[in-house]
């Protein structure tokens, strides 16, 4: 059982290169759905694997076995439980639960602080923040608010300002905050998922970019809006990142290139099936192991009752 359950825990390592193969061939919206769904399934499967390993160890404790009416010795032989690994899994699971709880509390507090800060400058719709710093973002709640600084407005021309608002509106209309919450939860439950979650986040930004391009009717305008906004934010963003090829130049290049065409659906479907297969393998392994453990318990219960 133990080696089987390594699969859901480590499969995210495989998912990342698979995603890199698949996503350039998908348009941003299906890519966002696929990647976010895959992250959730992989996170659920790896958490389930830890839970199973923990429970399999707990099931050997005489007190627990007494309640369930099975023989600890029989169960240990049947299901190949490895007690030290079970303890380690239990420890890891405990740490993850604490992290999830802590992250939830911190995010709730932060969201309230953000909302109160926004309330000082406007109640709903578009909230303009006085100041030179170029800032723009969308917040769900109160019917959806879009915050833009006066500095950001001044850095763009009118059509680019439209593009910016259209991009933020697309985030609200498509409820992207739900995707992002799912991704944050997934990467908290399994840190190996961080690269995949990043890829999903990028696809979501591209989704909003393409929606803005359709609304404005000119991809180049949106490309310029993104580029000028990023350059306007430069002086404030203190430290320089080591990585090259960050998300902004990629978004701008994608917008300056022709729109992603709907080519033959077949290759995209096949590639999606590939990545779903990876996620499915993970889930299936966890479910198989759960079934094995349950079978083992039943046999151990039968043996115990027969004494």
């Amino acid at each position: 059982m133990t080696t089987d359950l390594l699969i859901p825990l480590l499969l995210p390592l495989l998912a990342w290169p698979t995603a890199r193969l698949v996503t350039p061939r998908l348009r941003p919206r299906p890519a966002s759905w696929l990647l976010t769904g895959t992250c959730l399934v992989l996170a659920a499967a790896s958490t389930a694997a830890l839970a199973l390993l923990t429970f399999s160890g707990l099931s050997l404790i005489p007190a627990v076995a007494g309640i369930g009416h099975w023989s600890p010795q029989a169960l240990r032989t049947l299901s190949g439980v490895d007690v030290p690994i079970s303890i380690a899994a239990g420890g890891a699971l405990g740490v993850l639960m604490v992290l999830v709880a802590r992250t939830t509390v911190r995010y709730t507090r932060w969201a309230r602080r953000l909302s109160r800060e926004l309330d000082e400058h406007g109640s709903d719709g578009i909230v303009v923040l006085p100041g030179e710093d170029a800032v723009a973002f969308a917040v769900p709640g109160r019917g959806g608010r879009i915050a833009v600084s006066s500095g950001m407005l001044a850095a763009l021309n009118p059509r680019e300002r439209s593009a910016l608002l259209a991009h933020e509106r697309a985030h609200l209309a498509s409820r992207h905050h739900l995707f992002l919450i799912a991704l944050t939860l997934s990467s908290t439950l399994n840190p190996l998922l961080r690269p995949l979650c990043s890829a999903a986040g990028f696809a979501i930004e591209r989704w909003a970019d393409e929606a803005a391009a359709r609304r404005v009717g000119d991809r180049t305008v949106v490309a310029h809006a993104v580029a000028k906004a990023a350059l306007a934010g430069r002086p404030h963003n203190g430290f320089a990142l080591a990585a090259t090829g960050g998300p902004v130049p990629q978004r701008v290049s994608a917008l300056l290139a022709p729109a992603p065409r709907v080519r033959s659906r077949v290759p995209a479907a096949l590639l999606s099936a590939l990545i779903l297969g990876v996620a499915g393998l993970s889930a299936e392994t966890a479910l198989d192991s759960a079934a094995d453990l349950r079978d083992g318990i039943e046999v151990a219960q039968a043996g115990h009752a027969g004494r």
Binding site: T103, G122, V135, M152, H224, K228, A230, L241, G245, V248
Partner: protein, 121 residues
């Protein structure tokens, strides 16, 4: 160059008018605002937007003869945007639940962006 407003959403018009007020740095009459807007808006539309901004508390107005002159709310050092950036940066665990329009740029990214901009204009 004057253009048709072309199905502008209400929020977009408010942002345009606010931008005019910010750039001016002094109180403007609705006629002044209408003149400085790139879009071809009716005078009554401009007045409606300015009143709405005033009701929201993002624009001030003072009597000027028989009409009003509008200005942006006085923010001494324009600190609101900076403060908001700080609140955003306080996001837990360096997370990204809130999608900002653009994220930070490395030096090499900046160079790439300038090349892209120059190439496409």
């Amino acid at each position: 160059m004057r253009k048709e407003p072309a199905r502008r959403a209400p929020g977009a018009l408010e942002a345009e008018v606010l931008n005019v007020l910010w750039s001016a740095g002094e109180p403007l009459s609705p006629t002044d605002v209408q003149a400085r807007l790139e879009d071809d808006l009716a005078y009554t539309t401009v007045v409606t937007i300015l009143s709405r901004l005033h009701d929201k508390g993002v624009a001030t107005r003072e009597k000027h003869g028989r009409s009003f002159h509008y200005a942006t709310v006085d923010d001494e050092a324009g600190l609101a945007a900076r403060k908001m950036t700080k609140v955003l940066d306080g996001e837990p665990d360096r997370g990204s639940v809130l999608a900002r329009f653009v994220t930070q740029l490395s030096d090499s990214d900046e160079a790439v962006l300038r090349d892209l901009l120059d190439g496409s204009t």
